[in-house]
């Protein structure tokens, strides 16, 4: 998949190492291939590139000095947290520096009265909730990789999670990001109050994939941990019926703490693996969770149950205790690893659609399974329309890999066609950069580039990700000419 392999330039490398060694101790500058190899990819391992140098700062001052040195040498800088991202956002640049923030993993302050935590970017998502637990508080966004992923990476991707319909995304749960600009200057976006003067740059920086600044300190909101939670496991004989049931729950004025759906192939794959007790004959399963005080949950579960029965759930179970609740969830949570057992590789998509178009998109995916001869089970954040179809393939078979990419590309473009987006929570990175040319018009992409220049005029922070160049869109357009009509007719062709 990687068409961007670059030959290592030993002169540039020596220059970079020399400059970085004036800032960092020797062991924090890696350049031998055996040392840089672990950094060659993130969670999207189909794309790999060796970084020219890896720099591992231990504090904000070092981050600032590294950025100044890189700017002087015109070296691209790719920031990396835990490397769990799924879109290749932290794929290294072969002629640049991979800035690993893994050493910056301290919780600097936790104020249970103000309900905030000030942390370094390398702190793990779940470490924040663990530290807040003694005060009855937690950090709400819970991406599935939360035991490993870092808060800096969550900010870069505006990470979501299964509870974000009710509790929000990263953007809703971060008060302040302290960062270094490409000039190595420290800036603060937002502050510890609920808003800051000027434009809302905090919102702009969220999900900006390390292209605008490098976060050095993040203040997150902590919220009271719900007293209790219960989940309903409902089975449906039809996928569309399950989708409509999710809509009915919301129409009844309920915002569930979690609302997840799995289709039959997904259910079968996970059941064999975790024995969650799922009904294997169901065309779709819906998990619908309520949290809050005991009285609140009881009231909401009753309301949810009435709606789901009315909507045609043929089987219906409500968790009676915490063990059972976790059991019901275990299958959904293990969905990705279960795919890894039934297939050598899987490719996870991340489109979002208006929920009412679910039936249409699932039919489309079924047609694509036939067209490309590949299986594709579906797990789905039914509350917010975020789909995670999982294409099963074997990466050792180059043709399967090619078919998988084409399959995924068609599904993403279908998501755009029905009024959705190519990425709900995983980011564009390198993976979906071509589909950006489909989702956005040339002048919209140009505005993104102008935003990038406002922060990083020399295009050094994570270049070649997220926002495609005009040239790239022209190349991609050439590959997918439709009806003799070229997209972007205003562009020169070469």
């Amino acid at each position: 998949m990687n068409d961007q392999f670059r030959l290592l330039d030993p002169v540039r490398q020596a220059e970079a190492v020399k400059a970085l060694r004036t800032i960092l101790p020797a062991e924090a500058v890696l350049y031998e291939q055996e040392d840089t190899k672990p950094y060659e990819c993130d969670g999207l391992s189909a794309y790999r590139e060796l970084p020219m140098v890896v720099a591992m700062p231990a504090n904000e001052d070092e981050v600032g000095r590294i950025l100044r040195a890189c700017r002087e040498l015109k070296l691209p800088v790719v920031a990396r947290g835990a490397g769990t991202g799924l879109s290749g956002g932290a794929l290294p640049h072969g002629k640049g520096v991979l800035l690993s923030l893994a050493k910056m993993k301290r919780i600097l302050a936790l104020d249970p009265v103000a309900r905030t935590a000030r942390v370094q970017p390398g702190v793990r998502n779940s470490a924040i909730s663990e530290a807040a637990a003694p005060y009855g508080l937690y950090y709400a966004p819970d991406p599935s990789s939360q035991i490993a992923c870092s808060i800096g990476g969550n900010v870069a991707e505006n990470a979501g999670g299964v509870h974000c319909l009710k509790y929000g995304l990263t953007v809703h749960n971060v008060l302040r990001v302290r960062a270094c600009t490409v000039e190595g200057e420290v800036v603060e976006f937002g502050n510890e109050a609920l808003d800051a003067p000027g434009l809302d740059l905090l919102a702009l920086v969220m999900g900006s994939e390390g292209m605008l600044a490098v976060a050095t300190e993040i203040t997150v909101k902590l919220v009271p941990k719900p007293e209790t939670a219960r989940v309903i496991l409902a089975a449906f004989d039809d996928v569309e019926k399950a989708g409509n049931a999710a809509a009915d729950v919301i129409a009844a004025g309920i915002i569930p703490a979690g609302l997840e759906m799995m289709d039959q192939p997904a259910t079968r794959a996970v059941e064999e693996y975790v024995h969650a007790g799922y009904d294997l004959n169901a065309a779709a399963l819906l998990l619908c969770e309520s949290d809050g005080t005991a009285e609140e949950v009881e009231e909401e579960i009753a309301r949810m149950s009435a709606v789901l029965k009315q909507s045609g759930a043929y089987d219906f179970r409500i968790s009676r205790n915490e063990t059972e609740r976790l059991k019901f969830w275990s299958g959904r949570k293990a969905a990705f690893s279960a795919m890894g057992r039934i297939s050598p590789d899987y490719y996870c998509m991340d489109g979002t659609i208006p929920r009412k178009r679910l039936g249409e998109i699932l039919m489309f995916i079924a047609a694509m399974e036939k067209k490309y001869g590949l299986r594709c089970p579906n797990v789905f954040h039914a509350g917010d329309g975020n789909l995670h179809p999982l294409i099963l393939f074997d990466a050792n078979d180059p043709d399967e890999l090619r078919r998988t990419e084409a399959f995924a590309g068609e599904v993403l473009e279908k998501c755009i066609e029905v009024g959705g987006t190519i990425t709900g929570e995983h980011g564009v990175g390198i993976e979906k950069i071509n589909q950006m040319c489909v989702q956005f018009k040339p002048n919209e992409l140009e505005m993104f580039r102008a935003v990038k220049r406002a922060f990083d005029p020399e295009n050094l922070l994570n270049p070649e990700k997220n926002i495609p160049t005009l040239h790239r869109c022209a190349e991609f357009g050439r590959m997918r000419v439709k009806g003799g009509q070229l997209p972007h007719p205003e562009l020169p062709r070469f």
Partner: protein, 354 residues
């Protein structure tokens, strides 16, 4: 309606060619807010109406000139709401003006601010280009998030044509309680309650009296009422009370003195400033009516970890918004240049050079 857009774009292009300022304006209900009003008015009310509303998707899309009251009525009919409870400040408030002003009301305390509910925008930039960012779905991380920063941008970046907003359901039950408490005690309790799973949706403290609104499941509201105590307010009286807080029509806001908005961390102790204060958002928002000088007020706000805005005043010589740090100011100027290269939109409304 496309003709209206073309007309808007034509006026923008003509103004840009002559570097002539344009003043983007809906109902004018927030003309009082911000720095200078400069340029010829471009009235956004010509482009009005709700385009799409899908209650089960929790999303509404409306044109900029849609009356805010019309949008809220449509939501109410489906049992939904703008959770951030935006102030209208007049009968003519529009959806575009509401987002551009970026002001949130009492419910912001726990529900979130305007920006938290913006999902997508269609806008005309300073070249008259018609651009769409974000979308009509809850989760979207394709490209930079250009939509949310439009909230509170005071029309300095572009003319928002259409806005998609997330619209959650109205609570099943509500109750308002009144407690007699001095400021320090009220602040301590608000922060303490904030850390508990209580359905608090708004608060207002002034002159030794704290009003609290609880919203949520009937059982949760009932349990919280019992836990907190105090005197219950009748539903009609409570509705009028919170409306007066939101619209700033109560006695506190009619002092005739300059009105300052101090945004500080909720745990900031009582601020030692001359004048009267009204506290909202669990302690995070402190309204101050005072003749104290701007420098003192700004210093106290900064000391507390926040910032002060001169919200309503006849003399805005001291600057409406707190000055930005140089590195941030530079990014602001660069962004303004990206969106509005001829510097025509609401010139000087936020800062003299923006």
């Amino acid at each position: 309606m496309q003709a209206v857009i073309e007309q808007f774009a034509g006026r923008i292009r003509a103004a840009a060619a002559e570097k002539r300022p344009l003043r983007l304006r809906g109902g004018g209900s927030k003309d009082f807010y911000g720095q200078a009003l400069e340029g010829e008015v471009l009235d956004t009310r010509a482009y009005a109406g709700i385009i799409a509303y899908e209650p089960t998707e929790l999303v509404i899309t409306a044109r900029c000139g849609t009356p805010l009251a019309e949008l809220e009525a449509a939501l109410r009919a489906q049992g939904q709401q703008l959770a951030f409870e935006p102030p209208h400040f007049g009968t003519g408030a529009t959806v575009g003006g509401m987002v551009a002003a970026g002001l949130s009301g009492p419910r912001r305390q726990t529900a979130g601010a305007v920006r938290d509910f913006v999902l997508g925008v269609r806008l005309l930039d300073g070249r008259g280009d018609d651009l769409r960012f974000g979308g009509q779905v809850m989760k979207n991380v394709a490209g930079f998030d250009v939509s949310r920063p439009m909230a509170g941008s005071l029309g300095t970046l572009g003319l928002m044509l259409e806005i998609s907003l997330k619209v959650p359901p109205r609570p099943f039950a509500e109750a308002t309680l009144k407690l007699e408490l001095p400021q320090d005690k009220a602040l301590a309790l608000l922060n303490q309650w904030g850390g508990k799973p209580l359905p608090l949706s708004a608060c207002a403290w002034t002159a030794g009296e704290l009003c609290l609104r609880l919203s949520g499941a009937a059982s949760a509201v009932k349990a919280a009422r019992a836990a907190i105590g105090g005197e219950s307010m009748e539903p009609d009286a409570a509705e009028r009370f919170w409306l007066a807080i939101r619209e700033q029509t109560g006695l506190f806001f009619r002092s005739g003195k300059p009105l300052w908005r101090l945004s500080v961390p909720s745990i900031a102790p009582p601020l030692a400033l001359p004048g009267e204060q009204l506290i909202e958002w669990g302690g995070s928002l402190r309204w101050l009516t005072s003749n104290a000088d701007a420098r003192t007020i700004r210093a106290v706000a900064a000391q507390a970890g926040g910032h002060a805005t001169l919200f309503r005043a006849d003399d805005k010589g001291a600057g409406v918004f707190a000055p930005l740090a140089p590195a941030l100011a530079k990014i602001h100027r660069n962004l303004k240049q990206a969106f509005d290269p001829a510097n025509i939109f609401n010139r000087g409304r936020m800062y003299p050079d923006l």
